[in-house]
Symmetry: D2
Subunit: 396 residues, 4 copies
């Protein structure tokens, strides 16, 4: 038995029936000659989603974390220096991963709620005359704080000092939700997953690697087998994987791409923005504050919301689940207990979003939060009804 | 592509994933010896839902209307008199059906919004000294007006004059939503369908026939083949149907019965009542009126709601669908344009109900109805949050 | 738990995954304005399958037997005479149905294993100077005997005496398996179902009615409500059904039509013929006889096969099921115990057919039939391998 | 569109409908408190399948190769020596993996078609007085050659010299197909996957680690993050994964375990053996040779079969796919062109197996192989029919 309420975690997302059906396929032979006809179009189409003409698309049967590990181990060698800013749990985890693989990680600590510090990067890189720094690692959408970062700005910072560092971007929770421009922003390694904007099950890590990143694989000394880029590309070229491929997710990804392209990527982004804005209107009506420091940092995938002093956001999330069987995200890391998160990515309609807002209102009232029932809902309703004409698209 | 918003029509209902899975079975042989093991428990368990020890359960691959036709043609003969009260579209349709099959239909006209008129029935039957009236036909839950009728009261009216008329009850939109007591209420023919309280697809008409009703089949002269009770019972007894059975629905029905019994029928009724009460709180907060004349007539399956003078309820329903992709029921018959309906039966949670209430509020505001956004939602939230402890059960 | 072996009953058929997925849809609103966009194309496309330009397509949520009842009750009146030849269980059932609805049924008895007796029809109709006979009823594919009849020949017989009788054809187990030409053959009422050539679940009866048949509905006095043609057509015209439609089957039918048209109807027929021929080669290798008297009568949907004297075909079918979990058809009516049936319609490949042939061989050997293991299989293999180039089409 | 024929590759396997349904679940919250109730029983039940009381079960969202990498990197350090015998493609791949991760791999070359060389292991380990060898790596079922190895024998070889080396076993294509006894055989690391004996989609690597193996993780210096045992165990202990879990596969695994335990593991093994024996009877009837050198080496998961001299097994496999849409396995590595493989693991019935045998016979005849149609089929039929009483169990 499972409850049929939508979920409001920042991924995996609610999945459209059509994509569930696409993944629910019987086993077929991944070594058959026509498997190529399924695999190649997926790889080609994924490039469009990253907005890259020249990137190599590399998919692994793994979660997004596997994509991070693959990016690092295929392009870097133990002892090499990388530069990372820590402004949330996911940038934190990336730091940990690099350290475990023997990299020399230089961390710029930032306040949570801020984004990638382009200026600090610029300054640090300008001082790195020897080009000891081999890569700059950035989380595009920090899922822990609901902050979107300006990747073009980071690229500008790198270019300002003509620094040759690779630019790694974690776009797990932004790709296919918010605009991403690999070529224009000069991203060298972009990492995504199947379970967020693509609205599929967990199990496919997706890496896009620039030509420069691919060149780096030649000399990279970090050991790797399962996550080896070149093994994968060699096998893909003749229609397979180096091991058993995630067949059902490949079918699902093709269906997801057809769905997204059918809607139009700009419409997909507009839809995410509209749903997110409604949630933010509700937050404002409650008088609460987002973790994200300023509107340019607001994520359209997830909102992290501070609860008033004296309240425990973990209890709120627990209560919403126990009493109403609706899942929201807890505060992660230093936000544990202080903030909760509303995921609003992937399959979600204005109508579904309202049910989430209404539910958390009930949960807050149950716990004596200083909110009026219906207040946040009304703010979101007002926004949704005024904007439905322009952007309300049928989803899935 | 289809929108993933819940629907708020008074059936077919939103279906739980588990029941969809149960119906999604590959073909198997309906003449195999073990088909019996699937069919017989379904028939036995259905008796419990009707609360009858002795009724015969007869299922047809048809919609509920087919069950009505079967009830009439198997127990009555052309020219025989039946007594029906018309208080909504579904009682109206039953009158039409009887007339087409050559019955002499005596109609008691009632105001829409009222229920079965036990007193008028009593009076009429007392005067029928010759017992010309062979059957009294009652709609338990009038889906057009959201009115539940007192079947025990009707039985009392029949018994008061010791009249031998059969009692036919349409419980299509009440069975497995609200209490139904076939034996206690002395119902002779009860007609239901798969697509309402059972949360399945349309395609199985379910008739429960008392011993008295079965005796009436011996002399009934209305022609019938597809809908013949005795052909069906004879075939069922040896493990089959007289023609190809609705195999997937039989699997689905067994899963539905397991789900309902797992929750407990009393909990099922309490859940329907709670969801319905929240909707009615919202209606009250808007200052609107239900079609049902008094609280004892309120249906827990569907609410029919008058819109204010000067507004067209059909336009409201259309607009909610076009702008927000959410379906509500239009007003039927004489309520067309004057009322809309919110179905709240089958798979529906408090959270899903709130999304429906929020949506219709937006639609009303768009059309300049005199409502405040969030008002109805807040009333429902307040009711749901105060009642969740006692009755919130996980569904499906 | 269910066994995953294919079934070899003459319908319902094995269903392709793609059609199961198409039917596995969540409830949507059948009164929504865009339901029309689903319903109308289905009705239009079905005309192509019947090869008719002018027929009305009428679909009921019922099994094929419901389609028969609808055909009879919508076009005839009690007491009217119809002419039927009995040459199998399904023509027999049609006779019974007509009698129950008060028709005067004149039966031409034919040996089982023969088809529709065009000459006897011609003779009888020529003698019916008063045109008392209102309809001639023919079973296109007699599922009990595996006999296909020459409908054009029957039409010739009717036309020879310029007789105005309507021509009713049961094409339940032939449509979308073997060629059917409603207009060319002058068929007035053709009855089919969802669970045979369309490879869907049971639950949609499909009737195609000629203009002449539609005119007959004006005067037909047989009572009907659920199965009323004109109620259905009136409701369809404004995008609905007179009651709850079989939504999932409508989605399934659209997918089935797309699948069939994608393959091409002539290829569909050729595929059925090829599969059937392989089965018949196996039968010949065993030295057994088909019930069908001559090759022109061989059905490409089902083969009815006499077992040798002294053997009980019912036991064979039981044993195949109990020992190997594979379902075949028993002999019906006067063929009970004497013949078994292999259904080879709908979703079936040469490879799947071989598994059925191999299984029944094992079952026969177990029961000491005079067959050599592998013999029938080899004959079918030989036929399939020699013919695969021309007609092997990917199915579903 | 996809063909509905069964596949005969050595995994992924045909999947039962019930397991496909179990995996087709909507997203739920993997951080919800009740996720624990799903995860823990899976981990506990998996121990039973490995026949271990004390092993830690560690599951990754990855394919089996990921499980190998995890085993190596969590328990060994760069430069350490491991001992491996190469007797097929999968042992070969394991050697490659170890080398990439900086291990010193000592390879014992064996003829393909033989199994793990217990005596050579014994000899080598006896000479390793310094205990430089840290691990012995064995492929339980070599999928390339259809050879099963005697793991108890290898353990005996290790114990004979009281050598402390860890014993790693790849049981990807044997677990839940053939008997496996982790504790009794003294296995330290056993690696399996979801897509073979468990009949699920690819995407879950399953590792069972002995207490000794877990101790080795404390000192192991190979870098790892995604595949870190202790991260996973720590997260599992509080009801989660260190990253997004493969939710649908977890549901699927629970259903698979219920299915396997319901049948009884010994019955599962007996079923695999019976299906395999039938295939081997067919091979004998064709006069062909298995790659496996002797009956004690015959795998019940897959048979690798030499084609006669002068024939190209790759062309045979291609032709079977192109002409009949049935997939078999090609010969891998040095068997390319010389042998083909019939996978007979997971969901497969005798009836399905016969269709595969019949198909490859047709394909061979098409390519002028010296075989008689029906010959191999007859041999398998004879075996299956004589053995059905004892072991024919309903599957899935």
């Amino acid at each position: 038995m499972s409850n049929q309420n939508p979920i409001f975690i920042p991924g995996p997302t609610n999945m459209p029936d059509s994509l569930r059906a696409a993944m629910n396929t019987q086993t077929s032979d991944h070594r058959a000659p026509d498997f190529q006809n399924i695999l190649q179009p997926m790889l080609t189409d994924l490039k469009q989603v990253f907005k890259s003409d020249s990137a190599q698309i590399i998919t692994f049967p793994a979660s997004g974390t596997g994509g991070w590990e693959a990016s690092v181990t295929n392009t870097l060698s133990p002892g090499e220096k990388v530069l990372v800013a820590r402004y949330g749990m996911f940038s934190h985890r990336w730091i940990d991963l690099c350290q475990r693989h023997g990299l020399d990680v230089e961390v710029i600590e930032c306040e949570w709620g801020t984004g990638a510090p382009a200026e600090k990067f610029a300054e640090r890189l300008a001082n790195d005359k020897q080009h000891a720094i081999k890569a700059v690692l950035v989380t595009h959408n920090e899922t822990a704080t609901g902050v979107i970062s300006d990747i073009a700005g980071v690229r500008g910072a790198i270019n300002a000092s003509e620094h040759p560092a690779l630019l790694f971007v974690d776009c797990v929770s932004s790709l296919a939700c918010m605009d991403f421009r690999m070529d224009e922003w000069g991203v060298d390694l972009a990492v995504a997953g199947s379970q967020k904007g693509f609205m599929l099950t967990t199990g496919m890590a997706i890496v896009a690697a620039s030509e420069k990143a691919m060149r780096a694989t030649k000399s990279a000394q970090c050991p790797r087998t399962f996550f080896d880029f070149n093994d994968m590309l060699k096998a893909n070229a003749i229609g397979g994987y180096p091991y058993t491929p995630p067949l059902q997710l490949i079918h699902g990804m093709r269906a997801s791409l057809a769905l997204l392209f059918g809607e139009g990527m700009d419409n997909v982004f507009a839809r995410h923005h509209r749903i997110a804005e409604g949630v933010r209107e509700a937050v404002a009506a409650w008088g609460f504050k987002l973790c994200a420091k300023s509107p340019d940092l607001y994520s359209d995938s997830v909102s992290a919301i501070y609860v008033p002093d004296g309240f425990d956001s973990n209890k709120l999330v627990d209560h919403a689940y126990n009493a109403y069987k609706v899942s929201f995200g807890v505060g992660l890391g230093e936000m544990s207990g202080k903030a909760f998160r509303i995921g609003h990515l992937g399959l979600l309609t204005d109508v579904m979003a309202l049910s989430g807002i209404a539910t958390i209102e009930m949960a807050m009232k149950d716990l004596d939060y200083p909110v009026e029932l219906g207040n946040g809902v009304a703010a979101a309703q007002d926004y949704y009804r005024k904007t439905h004409v322009a952007t309300n698209q049928e989803v899935a």
